[in-house]
Amino acid sequence: MDIRVQEAAFDAGAELNAFSTGHDAAGAIVSFSGIVRDREGGLSHMEIEHYPGMTEKALTAIAAEASARWSLADVLVIHRHGSLRVGDQIMMVATAARHRGDAFAAAEYLMDYLKSRAPFWKKEVTADGAEWVAQRDEDEAALGKW
């Protein structure tokens, strides 16, 4: 399990290649990348705040729970904080498993929990000012399916 919380940019392609290379026996690799998008136009940048210490613990607990629920060879989670621009990679998750069903399900579970249970807060900054992104009801509801 590799959990990284960092301010620095990362190369999702290189990370995925490195992750895949280490798991020749896994057979199935699923990855998801989250990118900063300009939801309503005019986004200058996004600021991501987090809770150092709790963030790493929460991500590790979520990844451990995924590993307990599905048969996984490995899990990778990278999540950035700080100032990000439109098009920047915010985060990625990757799962390695013997079978694709486990890899897909675990990746979706990681994303659902990471959105609402890892202590990150996004703030969108535009020319008109800054606004904290509100949690969407769908994101909280998504946890119900697990």
Binding site: E49, Y51, M54, A58, M111, S116, A118, P119, W121, W132
Partner: protein, 81 residues
């Protein structure tokens, strides 16, 4: 204990963390104490249904006891991913 504030809670109160000496038995008792301090706290804690709380870096509830807790954090619902 150390009390921490994140995102708009931090902005409304005007500081990221502070040390508070309190006899509050539960999180809700602490919230009541903080609300009585100053207007900025009253505003930040006006609607606790819009807030989440973590005790020693684990998500918790407002009726949870504070005995033995060293770090309390208040913040809005999380928006990771």
């Amino acid at each position: 204990m150390d009390v921490m504030y994140f995102a708009w809670v931090r902005e409304r109160i005007g500081l990221p963390r502070e040390r508070i000496d309190t006899q509050a038995a539960t999180v809700m008792d602490l919230v009541t104490e903080l609300r009585a301090r100053e207007e900025r706290y009253a505003v930040a804690f006006e609607d606790i249904s819009a807030l989440r709380v973590a005790l020693d870096q684990e998500l918790s509830e407002f009726d949870a006891p504070l005995a033995g807790v060293r770090e309390v954090a208040f913040f809005p619902p999380m928006t990771g991913g």
